[in-house]
Amino acid sequence: MSCEKYSGWLTDAALGELRAEREPELLAHASECDSCREALSHAREVGEFVDRGVEALVAGEPSPHFATNLRRRIAQETESLQSPWMAWAPIIAAALAITAVLAIMVAHSHVRSLPNPSLAPAGAPISALHEAATASPTSPQLARRTEGKHAPEPSTQARPRTTALPEIIVPKGQLSAAAQLSAAINSGRVDGNQLLAAQQEYQKPLEVQPVEIAPLEIPALDDATEKPANSIRF
């Protein structure tokens, strides 16, 4: 029972922090109790190890070049501070890099935004197609334009407009069909005028015949027989 009481004092005693009035009591008990004497000895050993262990952890010297390296670091920092443009160098470099990237992006988007019939949105005006359809089959411009257009190359689609050739804007995915139609007109297999006439026929507004409604004939009523019984007179 008394050993339990003293076990809590052992570490304090080993570290030299046990209250003065308790120390003689603990030592007296330890002189009679083998296990407590051994525990106290062990606690003292641990206390020494703690101090020595931590001392060993912090033992060491900085390198002999410490001061030299420090002076060099100070000089480097001061140099960069003394030349203001050097301090701004990273920012300027970053700004230049961002500008270059933006320029590339703008140039790329400009190339993409050039006329590209095959990318025309659905519902784009197709009136120009009529012009192509009505053009003379022997028109050199149209012949030149439709020549070899059955399988248009992507590079020619993106080519900017350089001549006065009529532009045919077709919905996306219908370029091939438009080219075939143009070729058919040029070869005479299809009559362009006939197509146009048919198209114009469809575009005519509907004629709505006015409906004639005959006026209602209201027969004259007899006052005595038709007047309601509960009618109010003013």
Binding site: E17, E45, V46, G53, L57, P62
Partner: protein, 191 residues
């Protein structure tokens, strides 16, 4: 401006010859303190030197308000301790116990057998782990007390704490370390 001040170009130190001379004195006697504080936290000589350099660099930039020697040393200790902790946090709990190569072992003074050396390193690793597990406020007083055997008053000056606080924290730190290491001591070489 003489050569001494010129060795610290820029900022207030280079403008003031006496300031440069005082910083030169600090540079002669304080790096070891900063280095050891950092070593007590990092347990790695290379990293401890980096941290000590950084702490001294900051001290240089703030030297105009740190001319008093004791104030300078306390400030340096706290900055080195904080920088070392920051470095540990940045790297996480990691391989810092694995270097050990150049550090003095617990039994450096005696002829150590291979078994003793291995056991000493193992014990040192355990002490380091137990120290790392201490709360920061206990750890800094423990590290400072272990550096050149500073007494409570000196630790209090360096840590910027009341002496009584340092005394109680130091006791608590040692007690926690002892409890943590108690079960391991029997397997290590005795001093």
């Amino acid at each position: 401006m003489d050569a001494l001040a010129a060795s610290f170009p820029g900022s207030e130190v280079s403008q003031d010859e006496s300031l440069a001379r005082e910083f030169e004195q600090r540079l002669a006697d304080c790096p070891k303190l900063a280095y050891r504080v950092a070593l007590g936290v990092l347990h790695n000589p290379t990293e401890a030197e980096d941290v000590a350099q950084e702490a001294m660099l900051r001290a240089y930039h703030n030297f105009y308000r740190l001319r008093d020697r004791e104030r300078f040393r306390g400030w340096l200790v706290r900055v080195a301790f904080r920088l070392a902790l920051d470095r540990i946090r940045a790297k996480g709990r990691r391989q810092r116990h694995e270097h050990d190569a150049m550090r003095a072992t617990l039994n450096a003074q005696r002829e150590a057998s291979v078994e003793n050396l291995v056991a000493a390193r193992e014990f040192e690793r355990q002490v380091a782990q137990a120290l790392d597990a201490l709360p920061e406020k206990l750890r800094i007083v423990m590290v400072l007390a272990a550096i050149e055997g500073y007494n409570t008053r000196e630790v209090a000056q360096l840590a910027g704490l009341p002496e009584g606080t340092v005394k109680s924290r130091l006791f608590l730190a040692r007690k926690k370390l002892a409890e943590s290491l108690q079960c391991r001591v029997k397997n290590t070489p005795a001093g």
